[in-house]
Amino acid sequence: MILAEITDTGLAALTYGIGALGPGIGIGYLVGQAVQAMARQPEAAGMVRTTMFLGIAFVEALALIGFVVFFLGQA
């Protein structure tokens, strides 16, 4: 029985999975800290939220570049 076969597609998907690990941890930590900041200082929530989205956008870009490279690998 073949459990997993190493193909180009499988390898690309696996690589993307590994690439998504870091940004996943990063976004989790980032949002957690932002929630903590908002809970401690509710009056600064607006500013914290904007900065949080900015940070998420930058961290997320790494995972998304991996996603695009996944498709480039297919072509």
Partner: protein, 254 residues
């Protein structure tokens, strides 16, 4: 167990045949029609929002609250009061991207125009020109280069390292990441919806494994709701980053 599942090749879910003006540079397909629809809806927001009734109703209400959202939630948070003159451009940007995105989940259309690289690329290049030209008008061409390449308080010995890094991050990575973020998010959402829809259709049989049908069906419904959030959030993030870039190009802090 073989489900007989045939996933369409990726090009099939984003490629649409040209049905008007074939073989010219102005061929029109479904994606181009979505551009037009989104542009018309964006203009409607501006026209209907401009009625200036004292007690707003209907479309004016929506337009006023959304302009308020852009001013309070994006411009004031990232640029401060001096950025308010950019609010009309950012409003148009936000709504155009949002309408292009939201066609992802509208039945019978179900194609995000931003899942083709052309539109995100154009928008990113547009934002690139806007913040660079705004910075050059504010500081003059030489002053702008100095302003964006040399961070304040850096010792002179480090400049050969800092300047190339700043150049790459300010002029190359910024438009690239703007483009890839919007494009990849919407393409990923589209693929996700197609995957679960294809899975649902494949399970529509009389075989025993049809009992799994509710799982992808609920996934389609859940992800459709999730994609509404993504459409909004990506339009918000794109507009917010455009505002931040314009702000950093025109700021005078250092």
């Amino acid at each position: 167990m073989i489900l007989g599942l045939e996933f369409p090749p990726l090009s099939h879910i984003v490629d649409w045949p040209v049905f008007l003006f074939e073989d010219t540079a102005f061929g029109i397909n479904k994606v181009v029609l979505i551009y037009f629809a989104a542009a018309i809806l964006t203009m409607l927001i501006f026209v209907l929002g401009n009625q200036r009734k004292l007690v707003p109703t209907g479309a004016q209400n929506l337009a006023e609250s959304s302009v308020n959202f852009i001013e309070e939630g994006i411009v004031m948070q990232s640029m401060g009061p001096r950025g308010l003159k950019w609010a009309p451009m950012l409003t148009a940007l936000f709504f155009f991207i949002f309408f292009c995105n939201i066609f992802e989940i509208i039945p019978a259309v179900q194609m995000p125009a931003t899942a083709r690289i052309a539109l995100p690329m154009f928008l990113a290049i547009f934002v690139w020109f806007v913040f660079n030209i705004a910075g050059m008008i504010e500081h003059g061409p030489i002053g702008y280069l100095k302003h964006s390449l040399i961070p304040p308080g850096v010792p002179a010995g480090l400049l050969p390292i800092i300047v190339p890094i700043e150049f790459v991050s300010n002029f190359l990575v910024r438009p690239f990441s703007l483009m890839v973020r919007l494009f990849a998010n919407l393409l990923a959402g589209h693929i996700l919806l197609v995957t679960f829809a294809v899975l649902t259709a494949a399970l529509w049989t009389t075989k025993w494994y049809a009992v799994f049908l509710p799982l992808p069906l609920f996934a389609v419904i859940f992800f459709t709701a999730f994609e509404i959030l993504v459409s909004f959030l990506q339009a918000y993030v794109f507009t917010l980053l455009a505002a931040v870039y314009i702000d950093s190009a025109t700021s005078h802090e250092h």
